[in-house]
Symmetry: C2
């Protein structure tokens, strides 16, 4: 059993997760970001206490956060979705709770959930890519999460691919996530519409990643071009990561992974054409098992891979 | 003390290396590649026996090889410089010698030499790039070498950057080593000369990487453009590797690293302009300490990082 929290920009989700990866109890509340750090800290503390009363034998709580941690894992260096900078969340929560608090990046939590109970279970070396608003990543090598010397390893979304028509939120140009996220899909389609391309998307006031995938599956030429472009950059990035890490398996998670085999097949084809040793070093590429619950499940079982 | 061998395409170099990284005894012979695997095996066996007689208490010998090993580290899957494919070198040598034989890629051996005694000593996470005929790499994370699931991790030279005017030996187009090796420098200069560009290099029948650096330092515009191009791609690749691995330090070795601070300064500048977290996650970038002896020294002390 473990207590795991997924601290997101819109919701705080907490669960008691058993040793088979099943959420036995779940408690959620809205993240009151606009009320500042202390309010969110209060809300988080109350939610954890509630879960701990249900499972009082637990001495540790794991929390996945949508941002960057200090190398010692104690301080949130930067968390744009919560407008937090340099917040000592571990110490602040431990003081309130009398429990040990372990923080990780949310993509790392998802990577752990997959390795413990999901699509990469039993593999010693795995790389996860989460495709959502941005592109996140997690890496497990020899059954241990890679955090990096400054706590910012596995930032796959910011690998520079080539020049793009808009800048990344990080300030750079050409980051993978400007080619391969939901945001990237939407901006690419919007730009092509602005340039006069015909598409069923034109009749919609706005569209999200899921709707672009829907249009692509229905044969819309613009939506299909956008999806193919995303898959091409993902295949390129995965082949490059493979040159460095050579894992048994890559797993694709996040909201866009809901597009299923339609997306996966394209990513696999684009990766294979760029592998350095296609005869004897071919990674598996699979869809993640968990979606919204990944952060909670991984956070509850961090100790397995840390 | 340790016995380390650097098996190269032109020479077999063996050394007894003390616990401070100093080569106490060295024995070299030409690699008789043209006479086939069995002859090289004989020569290698004799050289190791000779060294072992000088240091009979050793029970292990480490060998750096210029190629790809099987995941179990026992078989040379591919070694283009020696025209070897699928040779069970570990077993063949152990049968002859009665010693334990450990094989590693030569860039990994160099990476270990630097981590044990050289430029990255004391750092738990380091990445090495060797700039020679090609571009090789080695990675140490949490004091352990990363080999990968198929034994081909840290192949930094084959990360695809962008389209290039000639294909890589591996069959792909756009590999880092076609932009950032001695071969890349020479081919780029040759192409610019063919296209009519003026340069002091034109008066030479042929030129190598060292001579291109010499011309660049002397102010030759073409040579300088070639060196700046190489540094730009290296900085780009290092920033991307940094996004994944986030090591304390990158070290630059191989023949081209002889260009010293002239090259290093350019690589550092090109890397810094592409870092994702330039405010708090800046890797050190340094020149390797060892050059030709790196393979031997690292091979003699593999066990420290395996």
């Amino acid at each position: 059993m473990g207590i795991g929290i997924d601290l997101g920009g819109s919701a705080i989700k907490g669960g008691i997760v058993d040793n088979w990866g099943v959420i036995q109890e779940e408690r959620n509340k809205k993240t009151r970001t606009h009320m500042g750090y202390d309010q969110v800290l209060d809300d988080l503390g109350l939610l954890i206490k509630e879960l701990h009363q249900l499972s009082p034998e637990e001495t540790v709580v794991g929390i996945g956060i949508p941002g960057i941690l200090s190398p010692d894992g104690g301080t949130i260096v930067s968390c744009p979705n919560l407008n937090w900078k340099n917040q000592p969340l571990k110490k602040d929560l431990e003081t309130r709770l009398g429990l040990e608090v372990r923080l990780v990046n949310d993509a790392t939590a998802a990577c752990i959930a997959e390795a413990a109970f999901g699509s990469t279970r039993g593999k010693k070396n795995s790389v996860m890519l989460t495709l959502g608003t941005g592109v996140g990543g997690g890496m497990i090598i020899n059954d241990r999460v890679i955090f990096g010397a400054h706590g910012v390893a596995s930032e796959v979304g910011h690998m520079i691919m080539e020049e793009n028509f808009y800048n990344c939120n990080c300030g750079k140009n050409g980051c993978l996530e400007t080619f391969a996220s939901a945001t990237a899909l939407i901006r690419y389609c919007q730009k092509q519409l602005d340039d006069g391309m015909d598409s069923t998307l034109r009749s919609m006031n706005s569209f999200d990643g899921r709707e672009i995938f829907g249009a692509a599956k229905a044969g819309d030429a613009l939506a299909l071009a956008a999806v193919n472009r995303l898959a091409r950059y993902l295949g390129w990035a995965i082949a490059n990561i493979n040159d460095l890490i050579d894992p048994e398996v890559f797993t694709i998670g996040g909201g866009l992974s809901g597009a299923g085999d339609f997306l996966l097949g394209k990513i696999i084809a684009e990766t294979k054409s760029r592998l350095t040793y296609p005869a004897y070093a071919i990674p598996e590429i699979v869809l993640a098992r968990f979606r919204n619950e990944a952060g909670m499940i991984g956070a509850a079982h961090l100790s397995r891979f840390i």
